[in-house]
């Protein structure tokens, strides 16, 4: 079972690197929406890798780490979704060249008409 442990550590290292990259993305990206992109995708992957890696290193912990991983896998995108919606509503617009690339713009107008 020593291989399982090595695999686990490999996962952990990958996960930590992705966590780092996600944070770097948050630091470097130009506006809220792109930052959120980095912050959610890379960080979710990183967290999943790290947590499942720990579960592989200690096999009897696996089920609990799986629950945490599942939970993060669901909750992280949703909080990002809510933050994105809220930032759009509070008047921030994506950093784009073309005007018509703002997909949420229609939704907002439709609601106001109603």
């Amino acid at each position: 079972m020593i291989y399982l442990e090595y695999l686990g550590y490999f996962f952990i290292v990958i996960g930590v690197v992705f966590l780092f990259l996600g944070a770097l993305g948050i630091y470097r990206m130009p506006d809220v929406f792109t930052r959120m992109q980095a912050g959610t995708k890379a960080t979710t992957l990183g967290a999943l890798g790290t947590i499942l890696g720990v579960g592989l290193v200690q096999p009897e912990w696996f089920w609990k780490t799986l629950i945490i991983a599942l939970f993060i896998g669901i909750s992280n995108p949703i909080s990002s979704h809510a933050v994105a919606r809220a930032s759009h509503k509070s008047g921030l617009r994506p950093f784009v060249k073309k005007e018509d690339m703002d997909a949420l713009a229609d939704i907002k107008e439709a609601k106001e008409v109603k």
Binding site: I78, H81, A82
Partner: protein, 226 residues
């Protein structure tokens, strides 16, 4: 002017303060009651988690006070915000994604809270944490649905019953065991779910009570005008 005086005062205070605490050795073992608790927790209370055994058994009176403090906070907040309340909240619903997730997560979070306070004597956590988690779960529903209402009557009944359970356990101990809050049930085997005598009972009561109280606090605050 006021700033300068404040900084001066804090500077003197901070210097004095720091000179006491920075000379204190960090991470050294100290003699005291803590050692006794660590050595005797399993034989005297049957609880594996020493912090729980101190909170509920050795210093159970503090916990009664603590529950009372939360009860006071919810009562006091109800008194302070008595007539700025309105009947209905008027915000928008959350987006469908958030709503669906909340509906799915809500029972799971309540379950998690129950897990935390039932296992209070085995793992970290206990009544307060479990109650706080339950209240947070209810808040998730408040946030997602405009029409979600907390049943105030039910909440206050839970709150009262849980509080009464706590005091009744204490008084039963006074009658059967000779002193208030004494552990009058058998201790059982350590590391079992059903062990440690009255500790799980008290923690379950505390969990329900704290959950109901914090929900009332959140509901009172959410329902004020504006």
């Amino acid at each position: 002017m006021r700033k300068a005086v404040a900084i001066l005062l804090l500077g003197i205070f901070g210097y004095y303060f720091a000179s006491i605490f920075l000379s204190l050795p960090f991470g050294e073992k100290r003699e005291g009651v803590g050692k006794h608790y660590l050595e005797n927790t399993i034989s005297e209370t049957g609880s594996v988690n020493t912090v729980t055994s101190i909170v509920v058994s050795y210093r159970g009176f503090d916990t009664l006070g603590e529950v009372t403090v939360l009860f006071l906070a919810s009562t006091g907040l109800g008194a302070i915000l008595f007539d700025v309340r309105r009947k209905k909240r008027n915000e928008q619903n959350a987006s469908p994604i958030v709503r669906t997730t909340s509906t799915v997560f809500y029972p799971m979070i309540i379950l998690l809270g129950a897990y935390v306070f039932v296992h209070g004597h085995l793992t970290p956590g206990g009544g307060f944490q479990g109650g706080a988690i339950i209240a947070t779960g209810v808040l998730l529903m408040f946030m997602a649905y405009r029409k979600f209402e907390a049943n105030h009557t039910l909440l206050s009944v839970i709150e009262s019953l849980a509080g009464l359970t706590f005091v009744t356990v204490g008084l039963t101990g006074l009658i059967y065991g000779g002193s208030f809050l004494v552990n009058f049930l058998p201790l059982g085997t350590p590391n079992d779910l059903v062990s440690a005598g009255v500790i799980p009972i008290i923690y379950i009561a505390v969990g329900f009570k704290v959950g109901a109280e914090l929900t009332v606090v959140l509901d009172d605050m959410l329902k004020t005008i504006r």
